[in-house]
């Protein structure tokens, strides 16, 4: 079997990896924001469930999260195909990690901003939505970019629940051609070709944003 035949499949796999990344990052950060609000909430009925979910998401391996969704949830009557199962598992992991990043960003907004908003007569909700949240999210941007790169790399675990993403395609190509070294080297370089420049971009963003507002 010729290795060349399998190269386009690696490309197809990369597209699936990127789809998983986009879904898990967009949904994950949205849920992460909700978790962050829940963890900072004064209401214990919101706070404790949020803290528990975040700590579970950060405390257990992403691989175990994927197994729980794919192999475990069917026993609770929830059956998912591989792709949705991977999307759900990776979204949950991304949400748990991003919530702490977003929370740190929100906490980094100086108290004077709230005081100034209060002095101007803005309501609590308006202050949070229009003053605190935009500044908090802004300072969380570099860390969130870093997490997005991590999320992209974590999609490689989806092969273990038989999603045909890049790693899954590489596994099949390797099993058929027996040319593991070449297949995995190419696969690794494909991941790195996206992850390394993306990391540089997040470092650049960090430098730019650390200059402050004006």
């Amino acid at each position: 079997m010729d290795l060349g035949e399998y190269l386009p499949r690696l490309g197809d796999g990369l597209v699936v990896s990127l789809q998983l990344t986009v879904i898990s990052v967009l949904l994950g950060y949205a849920v992460g924001l909700l978790f962050a609000l829940g963890v900072s909430s004064a209401n214990p009925w919101l706070r404790w469930p949020s803290v528990t979910l975040v700590e579970i998401g950060r405390g257990i391996p992403a691989l175990v999260v994927l197994y729980i969704v794919y192999y475990g949830l069917p026993s609770a009557g929830l059956l998912f195909d591989s792709f949705p199962a991977a999307a759900i598992g990776l979204t949950f992991t991304a949400a748990a990690y991003s919530s702490e990043t977003i929370r740190a960003g929100i906490r980094s907004v100086p108290a004077g901003q709230r005081e100034a908003a209060a002095a101007l007569g803005l309501g609590r909700a308006t202050t949070f939505r229009r003053v605190v949240l935009p500044q908090g999210l802004r300072s969380a941007i570099p860390a969130l970019m870093g997490l997005a790169v991590q999320s992209f790399q974590t999609t490689s675990l989806a092969y273990s629940i038989s999603v045909n993403e890049l790693m899954g395609q590489a596994y099949q190509a390797g099993a058929v051609t027996f040319r593991y070294l070449e297949v995995y080297a190419i696969t690794g370089l494909l991941y790195a070709a996206i992850a390394v420049p993306a990391t540089w971009l997040s470092v650049y963003a960090e430098r730019r944003l650390s200059h402050g507002y004006l």
Binding site: I56, Q153, S156, Y191
Partner: protein, 213 residues
């Protein structure tokens, strides 16, 4: 529950072995890489930077597969455990090199200048003055990384190391009708149960070190 706990705990020693060995490999291997990242010679610095970025840019699981399936010298091949430890250790050395570098970057320049003024050699300055201060700064980050590594040791299951995640999967497959979610939640619980005392120990160590300052 008791049956799945027994099954999962069978994998605990290998989880700990993989984590500890990869961490040791990374903690030691990170030192030369960190020195390379700080090198005065631009070609060395760029080359090591490329190596570190490549080690971190390729997902760990790809490194494991590359080492386990791809690396064969004649008939000699790494076994599962060897490939898992080497792969996780290599990636760890890149992450730790970056963490160490960050620690040295925050030591004030005045320290180096003062040492120079006192006539200390470059080596003495580095080993006796900069390294202890940098070590203290990076300790919390290194701990966080160790906890990440504990979770990443679950990847060893993909190349056939029978650690906790592999044991949980196997138990779940053997008892499809009865086990269900339980073994995975048990494994999850054990990961968290190891992380918490580690995190507390690190906090105590950190408090003691910064107290002595």
């Amino acid at each position: 529950m008791p049956a799945s706990l027994t099954a999962v705990l069978l994998g605990l020693p290998l989880t700990l072995v993989v984590t500890a060995a990869a961490f040791a490999l990374g903690a030691v291997g990170g030192i030369p890489l960190m020195l390379g990242l700080r090198s005065r010679f631009t070609p060395v610095r760029l080359l090591v930077r490329l190596a570190v970025d490549l080690l971190r840019g390729v997902p760990t699981i790809v490194w494991l597969f590359l080492l386990y399936f791809g690396l064969a010298v004649g008939d000699v091949r790494l076994n599962s455990l060897g490939a898992a430890i080497l792969g996780l250790g290599l990636v760890a050395s890149a992450y730790l090199a970056e963490i160490y570098r960050g620690g040295f970057a925050v030591v004030p320049k005045g320290q180096t200048e003062a040492a120079q003024a006192l006539g200390l050699s470059r080596t003495t300055t580095f080993v006796r003055l900069l390294a202890p201060q940098a070590l203290r700064t990076v300790l919390p980050t290194v701990t966080t990384f160790l906890l990440m590594l504990l979770k990443d040791s679950s990847l060893a299951s993909t190349v056939g190391v029978l650690e906790m995640t592999a044991q949980a999967t196997a138990f779940s497959r053997q008892n499809v009708s009865t086990a269900g979610l339980t073994p995975f939640f048990v494994a999850a619980g054990v990961y968290i149960a190891i992380s918490v005392p580690l995190a507390i120990a690190a906090r105590v160590l950190d408090a003691r070190l910064s107290g002595s300052h």
